[in-house]
């Protein structure tokens, strides 16, 4: 598949918009080429390449809107997709919450593309798998992993003057290494826009070390502990909570950010003073597109939590208009302020505590308090007098990220981590947190 240039996509968008006399027309064009390799039991199990492209056209007559998409760009296909969108718009019920598309915007480009990542080939993928397979075999360990890379473009346009085009690259690598007897397990995850920031050998070594160190775990009584949470242990908890920073839900009384008696808790201090979280599409570690696909508004550098206070909520175009608020593009990444301290330094400063590599299978138990449950996995250790004393069995936790971010004792150096089930690119520091609530033991390794 050809990655279309800005001129090529602009030509397609202009042709689409010229084909309709509807009150407004929105065009979105995306294409991607994604390669992957998967391995398990020290063997490659599958490898593949998928190419996909999509043109989406939304038209509106008054408050009636219809959307259709197609994956061919010849004149006949463009005509067909526009007529389909028009037909659906005529059939659709009027949406009282319809808001017209935004007018012309300026999108300041972000560095989401790397030539080197775009050049990744099957050999590179096979070599990545081979590094962890060979290193694991040498240590008599068993590894399973997945490497995927993608090159894509995104284009948006509308009949009110919007046009944006940008290319993106990305890679994700995860690897689980287990001892042959199944008593030890380690894991690593790496994500990057630029492949030169990725080192398969370094990553595999982390998983191997964790696997070897986690053998012979001892049981620790469940309860509240001081914990050192590595970034992969908090990314989904924080991401989950931020997905609830929605103004409408809060204003309607169905959110942990709803205020007693009505309204929302914007500006209230809900977290520890040290907590500062913001979004920034131009951050070089976790760059994202400079617009939000949904509203077509530009993304901005936005404080989400400032000195422990709720600093911003997400508004849809409809809710912003209803509440008289200036809407901005929804954020695509999340950056949490940290220090220069390493995880090792946090451990050294801890008298008694638990080091958590990763949390997993996180589900919402109670939206009222954002109570989440889940488990530790792939490397949980007991810390005593500043040293890792021994591996411990995994725990189930029942904890709210709001409480977690209130109980912070010390923060380390932020690291890039992509959410497991949460769709943000994140830069999160390891954290030392007191009173983290482990409610039961798990026999799982």
């Amino acid at each position: 598949m050809k990655i279309l240039s800005q001129e090529e996509t602009r030509r397609i968008c202009d042709r689409v918009m010229a084909l309709t006399k509807a009150d407004q027309c929105i065009v979105k064009l995306n294409g991607n080429r994604t390669g992957n390799i998967r391995y398990a039991r020290n063997n490659v199990s599958t490898a593949g390449l998928l190419e996909d492209t999509q043109l989406s056209v939304s038209v509106a007559y008054g408050k009636r809107q219809g959307t259709a998409t197609i994956n061919e760009f010849d004149d006949k296909s463009l005509e067909k997709v526009v007529r389909r969108a028009e037909d659906l718009a005529r059939l659709a019920p009027e949406n009282p919450e319809f808001v017209p598309a935004v007018g012309k915007q300026i999108y300041k480009p972000s560095e989401t593309y790397s030539k080197k990542t775009a050049a990744i080939d099957p050999e590179f993928r096979a070599q990545t798998a081979a590094y962890s397979i060979e290193a694991s075999r040498k240590s008599k360990l068993v590894c399973a992993g997945f490497f995927t890379d993608s090159t894509s473009y995104a284009t948006i346009a509308n009949s009110n003057g919007v046009f944006g085009h940008q290319e993106e690259t990305s890679l994700d690598f995860t690897c689980t290494v287990r001892t042959e007897d199944g008593r030890g397990s380690g894991w690593v995850k790496r994500s990057a826009t630029d492949v030169s920031r990725f080192d398969a050998r370094e990553a595999s070594a982390v998983a191997i070390e964790k696997a070897l160190r986690s053998v012979d775990a001892k049981a620790l009584e469940p309860g509240r502990y001081t914990v050192i949470l590595e970034p992969a242990a908090t990314s989904d908890l924080i991401g989950f909570m931020l997905s609830g920073f929605n103004a409408r839900g809060a204003d309607e009384g169905r959110s942990f950010l709803s205020k007693k008696g009505g309204g929302n808790r914007l500006g209230e201090k809900l977290f520890d003073q040290q907590v500062n979280i913001w979004a920034d599409p131009w951050n070089l570690d976790v760059p994202v597109l400079p617009w939000d696909d949904n509203t077509m508004l530009p993304r901005e550098r936005t404080a989400l939590i400032k000195d422990g206070r709720v600093a911003a909520l997400d508004y849809s175009l409809y809710w912003a208009r209803k509440q008289g608020v200036r809407p901005i593009g929804g954020h695509g990444n999340m950056i949490m302020a940290g220090t220069s301290k390493s995880t090792a330094e946090l451990i050294a400063n801890t008298k008694k505590g638990v080091l958590v590599t990763r949390t997993w299978y996180i589900r919402l138990v109670d939206p009222q308090s954002v109570l989440l449950t889940g488990l530790t996995r792939d490397g949980t250790f007991y810390i005593e007098n500043g040293k890792i004393k021994h591996p411990i069995k995994n725990f189930r936790f029942n904890e709210s990220p709001v409480s977690m971010l209130n109980n912070i004792e010390e923060i380390g150096k932020p690291q890039v981590i992509a959410g497991d089930e949460v769709q943000y690119s994140m830069l999160i520091p390891p954290m030392k947190v007191r009173d983290f609530n482990f409610t039961s033991l798990s026999d799982a390794v």
Partner: protein, 545 residues
């Protein structure tokens, strides 16, 4: 960063449900014209010949056309109507003892032949890294056959207006019942799947599925409390007739606390009840933590079966193929080989199948062309079998595949997926009301809620939709803040009673995730109401900020 495309179908903050979007939107009228079988056979033969010509010892071709319609409503508004179509061809080969796979959306003979040759090239590359060749269990070709979900009403012929009006009427009923906000959705699926292999099979299947999730939320701004109750429908392998709301398909929960549904669903009635019960939850008593005898309705128990029996008995997990994503399993081969591993009490019988009418798993043939069947997983409490595909059958001494192969799209390679996994009904006559009579201190749970389980499937925690106190054999006050934590083997060994066949019904999952790249599958789980003694219940209420 792994970017997936999701359609956000819920405005509920934190209750947000993300569903993967496949394919491209199409006009509804186009969905009714299937591809001609002759065209598919010719295209399949092109791929088979190209693959064998390039050196493949085996090849299968899946020509898929996947049609979906999603309707989402919020309160009295229709938020979205989306029609999608995805069509293309996936080719899997074995060459030099290794698998290769390639897929294309371009259904021209040249493109399909090229995909087949690409798959062979990938297999040859993979073979260099593979110490043992793939061993496929024998399967005879079935020739040219077809299978279709036995639907009575085709969702594709029901006007969008009628469907939207039904959902809005349900939302209205929920708000009249006491909900502050309502949301209801309709997922409709038609998969036209054609499978051909070098074994001599040409299988044409037409599969239909439906699901109507619904959410009622009650808010009390004075106390700043909110609570939700989800719908009690099941996702089904049926047509639009599931919405017929027939009187003979309604059953009463124990103590008459809710109306439950079997062969069809009354969306409006359930929405009204959901609104009322969401409001009641705002003032329900908070549970005292401790040990309780749990009486679990099939609308709840399906999810516990799914997580604690379905996933751990997937053979690929047992062997370590899912170690990097979904995890492995405590139900290891040595436990199965011992023929003594007591998974549950002697009354626990778990059956796997892909044939139960109306179930999500029901198809004629799996994605390796194997005719579907039924088999035992747990017999009288003992682990006796797993779920396997053609290349796994030899590992568990089976002469043939159990037909557990599935791919969620033509563009993804097929692999082992969970068939329907169900708890057999109790052998003695027992109704839920009779079951409750024997309980001194218990909780009756209806509907599924929060769920989480570890990567080897030992430790789990489940919530629910409706909770009622059971005291000295009687159902009492509504409870809130309930979740139970247990260990799979302890839990199933604590099973002390199972209601009879008359109470047996299915529920299931429309979006079960597994694999890398992740694929979603559909699966049903049947059960009668069952009782589990002395299970640990925690109170989930917390105060923040």
């Amino acid at each position: 960063m792994e970017r997936r495309t999701f359609l956000n179908i819920s405005g509920l903050a934190l209750g947000t449900m993300l569903i993967p979007v496949f394919g491209r939107a199409v006009a509804a009228e186009e969905l009714l014209n299937p591809l001609a079988a002759k065209f598919k056979k010719t295209l399949a033969d092109t791929a088979l010949n190209a693959a064998t010509g390039a050196g493949a010892s085996y090849c299968d071709v899946r020509i898929g056309r996947y049609l979906n319609q999603f309707i989402t409503t919020r309160d009295l508004n229709v938020e979205n109507v989306t029609n999608t179509e995805s069509a293309g061809v996936g080719v899997r080969v074995i060459c030099n003892g290794a698998y290769g796979f390639a897929a294309t959306s371009d259904m021209s003979p040249d493109s399909v032949a090229n995909a087949a040759r690409q798959a062979v090239a990938i297999a040859k590359a993979n073979a260099k890294l593979q110490p043992e060749p793939v061993r496929m269990a024998p399967a005879s070709g079935v020739g040219e056959v077809s299978w279709a979900t036995p639907i009575k009403k085709d969702w594709r012929t029901v006007p969008i207006k009628e469907k939207a009006e039904l959902l809005i009427a349900a939302n209205k009923a929920g708000m009249e019942g006491g909900a502050s906000f309502m949301q209801s959705l309709m997922f409709q699926v038609n998969q036209q799947k054609y499978f051909a292999s070098t074994d001599g099979s040409y299988i044409d299947q037409d599969i239909h599925r439906m699901w109507m999730p619904m959410f009622a939320t009650a808010v009390d701004k004075a106390t700043n409390k909110f609570r939700s109750r989800q719908g009690l429908s099941a996702p089904v392998g049926m047509g639009y007739e599931y919405l017929d709301a027939r009187a003979e398909h309604k059953v009463q929960a124990a103590g008459g606390v809710a109306t439950l549904y079997t062969g069809s669903y009354d969306l409006i009635e359930d929405a009204r009840a959901a609104g009322r019960q969401a409001k009641q939850k705002l003032t329900a008593k908070s549970v005292a933590p401790g040990k309780y005898d749990l009486v679990l309705s099939p609308e709840h128990l399906w999810l516990t079966i799914h997580e604690s029996v379905g996933h751990p008995t997937e053979l690929d997990r047992v062997l370590g193929y899912e170690a990097n994503y979904a995890g492995t399993s405590f139900a290891t081969l040595d436990k199965w080989q011992s023929k003594k591993f007591k998974y549950g009490s002697e009354r626990v019988n778990i059956v796997a199948d892909k044939v139960t009418p109306g179930s999500l798993g029901a198809v004629g043939y799996d994605d390796e062309g194997i005719k579907c069947k039924q088999w035992d997983i747990i017999k009288d409490g003992i682990l006796v079998n797993y779920q396997a595909t053609r290349d796994q059958a030899h590992i568990i001494g089976e002469k043939e595949s159990q037909g557990c192969s599935y791919a969620d799209s033509w563009s993804n390679v097929q692999f082992q997926r969970m068939p329907n996994i169900s708890l057999s009904a109790g052998k003695h006559k027992l109704t839920p009301d009779q079951m409750v009579k024997d309980v001194k201190k218990g909780i009756y749970i209806v509907g599924d809620g929060s769920f989480s389980i570890d990567q080897q499937r030992y430790n789990f925690q489940f919530g629910g939709q409706l909770f009622y106190e059971i005291h000295n054999g009687k159902i009492g006050a509504q409870l809130e803040d309930v979740a139970y934590q247990s260990n799979t083997q302890e839990f199933w060994n604590a099973c002390s009673a199972i209601c009879d066949e008359s109470d047996w019904r299915m529920n299931g999952s429309f979006f079960d995730g597994k694999g890398q790249p992740a694929q979603v599958s559909i699966v049903s789980h049947g059960a009668s109401t069952a009782r589990f003694n002395g299970i640990n219940v925690i109170n989930t209420a917390r105060k923040i900020g």
